[in-house]
């Protein structure tokens, strides 16, 4: 057992020190009938590293990895190229095997990273402050709504139809137990993101308006207009960003009037990983900082006056405030935040802009190719790197047939919105700088064949 350094001779000597005759003596508090006499039956025993690696590699081999196929999926998770140095650095034992920096004197590495991360995120989102990460975009979205409730002391939440349906579901789940009223509806397969209709739903009881930017269909909502409508009623504007690379090209939501901006940071540094772990980004106006959930890292000085960093404002948090905490979040996404921060450090604003421009360019090329196919209609001609197309028939079936041809062609609206027949023809197609002209042609050819 290669991970257990105690040897039998050690165990014997230690039991003697402890004054026990056997290990069973140490489990006396366990009721006799609940003590297992030996290893659980029917389960395999320990295995060599080689055997385990082979087993897991065989399972991995049953999946079609994105890098080995023309790949056009998005809908809240994006495949960008992550420089090799990112993964190299996050594997340093001093980052990988450290705990939450509760002892700042010997955790300045993690703490300085978090301070830099907070700064990067705040600038990216256009907010004054940002926290040290949340689990992911969807839970960050709920935390933002809960925070808006604490600030406005209202419970009516207006949600744009363009918000990712998993986010809506997550919010609905939480609200079911807190009494918040959640108003949302499914989107339509059309170019208009519905900003005007959204604005009319805001009233004096509205706690917040939640808008995704770009939205699930890839449309770009008019944030300044919505911000004005919300703030006119004393409601907060929460903006959700699921593709942060878009902010390399589009103005930051905070600059356009958002009060709270949350995001899914996975696209930068983290990778796809079948949906997790991901990285929740969370920024807001600094006047709301004491209502924020999650950890915050702040600058201070040590006893010799040297700059240093600590976790701060922990009186908001569960380990101090217990049931009065702003959130129950404890462990967050530290290592993902590190990966994000390193990738962003390499990119800088200029690199992010170039990555965004190239992603946009590939998406436009993809749309142009698909538009050539008879029966295919580009729903929203204005988009960043993801757009909706209408195909003849059920898009779920089209996606499956593309997969049979080894092409990962997009996300069907049918999968995201089961039961919404009016969306069944919708297919969301995303591209990034990793998309090649050959990929685009392969998708175009295969789709044309399937629809022929």
């Amino acid at each position: 057992m290669r991970y257990l350094p105690l040897r039998d001779a050690d165990r014997t000597a230690m039991l003697a020190t402890v004054g026990a005759t056997s290990i069973d003596d140490l489990f006396v508090d366990v009721p006799a009938d609940a003590r297992l006499a030996g290893p659980l039956e029917g389960l395999p025993l320990h295995a060599s590293e080689m055997a385990v690696e082979r087993h897991m590699a065989a399972l991995a081999g049953k999946n079609l990895s994105a890098g080995s196929a023309p790949f056009f999926l998005g809908a809240g998770a994006y495949r960008h190229h992550v420089p090799a140095s990112v993964d190299h650095l996050i594997q340093r034992g001093e980052f990988l095997t450290a705990y939450t920096p509760y002892q700042p004197e010997i955790a300045q590495g993690t703490l300085q990273v978090l301070f830099e991360f907070q700064t990067q995120v705040a600038r990216l989102l256009g907010t004054e402050v940002a926290n040290a990460s949340m689990y992911d975009g969807s839970t960050a979205c709920w935390e933002a709504i809960a925070m808006a409730g604490r600030i406005t002391r209202r419970q009516r939440v207006v949600i744009s139809s363009g918000l990712h349906p998993h986010y809506v579901e997550t919010v609905r789940t939480m609200a079911r137990f807190t009494g918040d009223s959640i108003e949302s509806e499914a989107p339509r397969l059309e170019a208009d993101p519905g900003d005007a209709a959204l604005a009319t739903r805001i009233d004096g009881e509205t706690s917040c308006v939640v808008v995704q930017y770009p939205d699930i269909m890839g449309r770009i909502p008019d944030l300044p207009a919505i911000a004005a409508a919300a703030q006119g009623q004393g409601a907060l504007l929460i903006v959700v960003v699921t593709e942060p690379v878009a902010l390399g090209m589009l103005e930051s939501p905070g600059v356009l009037g958002a009060d709270i901006v949350v995001g899914e940071g996975q696209a930068i540094g983290v990778g796809l990983q079948f949906g997790g772990p991901y990285l929740g980004l969370f920024g807001c106006r600094s006047k709301f900082v004491r209502q924020m959930p999650g950890r915050l890292c702040g600058e201070t000085v040590d006893a010799e006056g040297r700059r240093g960093f600590v976790l701060t404002l922990s009186t908001r948090e569960q380990h101090i405030r217990r049931e009065k905490a702003t959130s129950n979040i404890c462990t967050n996404s530290g290592l993902c935040a590190l990966a994000f921060s390193i990738h962003m450090t390499l990119l800088g604003g200029t690199g992010l802009a170039r990555m965004a421009a190239l992603s946009h360019h590939r998406a436009r090329q993809t749309a142009a190719r698909l538009a050539e196919i008879p029966g295919v209609e580009i729903v929203n001609p204005i988009f960043f790197n993801e757009f909706a197309v209408r195909v003849p028939g059920d898009a779920r079936e089209v996606v499956r047939e593309l997969a049979d041809r080894g092409i990962l062609g997009g996300v069907s609206c049918g999968r995201l919105y089961p039961g919404h027949e009016e969306l069944a023809q919708g297919l969301l197609v995303a591209a990034t700088e990793t998309t090649t002209p050959e990929d685009i042609e392969a998708l175009g050819t295969a789709l044309a064949e399937i629809l022929a």
Binding site: D25, H46, Y99, E105
Partner: protein, 486 residues
């Protein structure tokens, strides 16, 4: 050499990543940015050096014993990291057609099988993102079950010694939290608990082994009493490492328990996450488990049940805890860890973890006060207090003194039920030689604390930083570089 911030190293306008040029006309989008974001881009040499240098200001398991009680800082096997990076796991999209991710679904299913069997429970909700998220999932299952029978309740009972996440979670789930006192022996006071039970009590949240490092011998009795009044038992599984393979919580009447994969199953802590908190459920709570979940069909293959299938027989699922399907990257690591140890190895994990903790308890109880040490053995962590320190010294001073000895301190001032608590969890991945060296260091600092050694007040002296001014940090928070806020 002091390491500057990236904003002090790099220049805005530069980048350390090369991209192909975009040909053709520039894009025209609404709200298009007029200039790149004002973030510096560093070349790869500068970047590698910055983070390498920063990393060296951290303490970590890879550098030494990391005795944070209840955090289970054990060795993270490198095979797990290698497996998680296989393209077939790391580079798949959560919404790929299920036909292209059969192996991934199999991983979730195999891990779920192990978790159910190791805990003796009925099912497991895999999606929660961390322990506290799992607590929330469990409480929401309880709440959904109560509502389904038309019996909403208001109160959740939580022992004084619980992690802060327990009351925070209960409050977040819409319950009123009431505290249960502890006995002098550091256990839940069964009499007091029983007295409080009634039709308004939705459930109790109990940590077992508890945060004093002790097994709750009355857990089954408590569970029976709670069930008798129609409530449910939530068990905080943070300390499952102490009993895995030796005790199944399901046998003790538990209805829901989260498992911190980063504790018991050794996925890396990464400076504060990511975690992963699957929740095992009793038969009574199973129908309410959140979406999505992986289900093995009659043909043995695994399918993911999402919203589109929920209508067919899964209509009581209370909803979704988060987007997509959970912490896949942690599942691959945890399954790799579990298969490496096997049923026998996991049992050995618990035994060695408990043995190591008792060895520390008995090797230090002559120099440190062990509030519950006299009454018997502990489980996987040893609890001490600062009783007997002289010269105004307290737990924090011993902790900082340990830093100068080359160690990360233990958990301090927790659990709250012990004054000046010091909770030491060595884990099973420390050798006897390593424990002996650590014990020597603690003995040395403890002697100084009992002698009132003034120099401990200003410890650490040899760390990258001296004590940091936390008050200043909180009074006027500086949370971003040059953006001093307020």
């Amino acid at each position: 050499l002091e390491e500057p911030l990236i904003f002090e190293i790099g220049k805005v306008g530069e980048t350390g990543v090369d991209f192909d040029r975009v040909p053709g006309a520039a894009a025209a989008l609404p709200f298009q940015r007029s200039a790149p974001l004002d973030l510096p881009g560093l070349s790869e040499p500068e970047t590698v050096r910055h983070y390498t240098r920063l990393s060296r200001q951290n303490y970590a398991i890879d550098l030494g014993l990391f005795p944070l009680g209840s955090c289970t800082m054990k060795h993270n096997p490198r095979l797990d990291e290698k497996v998680a990076r296989m393209a077939g796991f790391a580079d798949i999209h959560p919404l790929q057609p299920q036909q292209t991710v059969r192996g991934a679904l199999e991983v979730i299913s195999q891990l779920a099988d192990w978790l159910v069997q190791l805990t003796g429970m009925h099912s497991v909700a895999m999606t929660p993102k961390a322990g506290a998220h799992g607590e929330l999932c469990g409480l929401l299952c309880i709440r959904a079950a109560l509502e389904a029978r038309g019996d909403p309740r208001e109160v959740v009972l939580v022992p004084e010694s619980a992690h802060g996440t327990n009351p925070a979670t209960a409050a977040f789930a819409g319950y009123r939290v009431e505290s249960i006192p502890a006995t002098a022996a550091g256990r839940v006071d069964f009499e007091a608990l029983q007295a409080r039970l009634g039709p308004d009590v939705a459930g109790v949240m109990i940590t077992n082994p508890n945060t004093c490092g002790l097994f709750e011998p009355d857990l089954k009795k408590i569970a029976d009493a709670v069930h008798a009044v129609g409530g449910f038992v939530y068990c905080d599984g943070a300390n499952f490492n102490a009993i895995v393979g030796r005790v199944r919580p399901g046998d003790l009447g538990v209805d829901a328990m989260h498992i911190n994969l980063h504790k018991t199953f050794s996925t890396p802590h990464g400076g504060g996450g990511p975690g992963s908190g699957p929740v095992v459920l009793s038969e009574a709570l199973t129908p309410f488990a959140p979406l999505p979940f992986a289900a093995r069909g009659p043909d043995g293959s695994v399918r993911l049940i999402e919203e589109e299938d929920a209508a067919d027989g899964h209509s009581q699922a209370f909803g979704r805890m988060a987007a997509f399907h959970g912490q896949m990257g942690m599942f691959t690591r945890a399954l790799t860890y579990i298969l490496s140890h096997g049923a026998d190895g996991l049992r050995q994990v618990a035994e060695d973890a408990v043995l190591n903790a008792n060895y520390i308890l008995r090797s230090l109880d002559d120099v440190l006060d062990a509030p519950f040490g006299k009454s018997g053995s502990c489980m996987h962590e040893a609890l001490f207090s600062d009783a007997g320190f002289a010269g105004g010294l307290s737990t924090i001073d011993l902790a900082k003194g340990l830093i100068d000895e080359g160690y990360h301190p233990m958990t301090v001032y927790f659990p709250l039920v012990v004054h000046g608590a010091m909770l030491i969890e060595p884990t099973e991945t420390e050798s006897k030689a390593s424990l002996d060296q650590f014990i020597g260091a603690v003995r040395s600092v403890a002697s100084r604390a009992k002698a009132g050694d003034e120099s401990l007040k200003s410890a650490p002296h040899f760390a990258p930083r001296r004590r940091l001014d936390e008050t200043q940090a909180a009074r006027k928070p500086v949370l971003a570089w040059q953006a001093t806020g307020n």
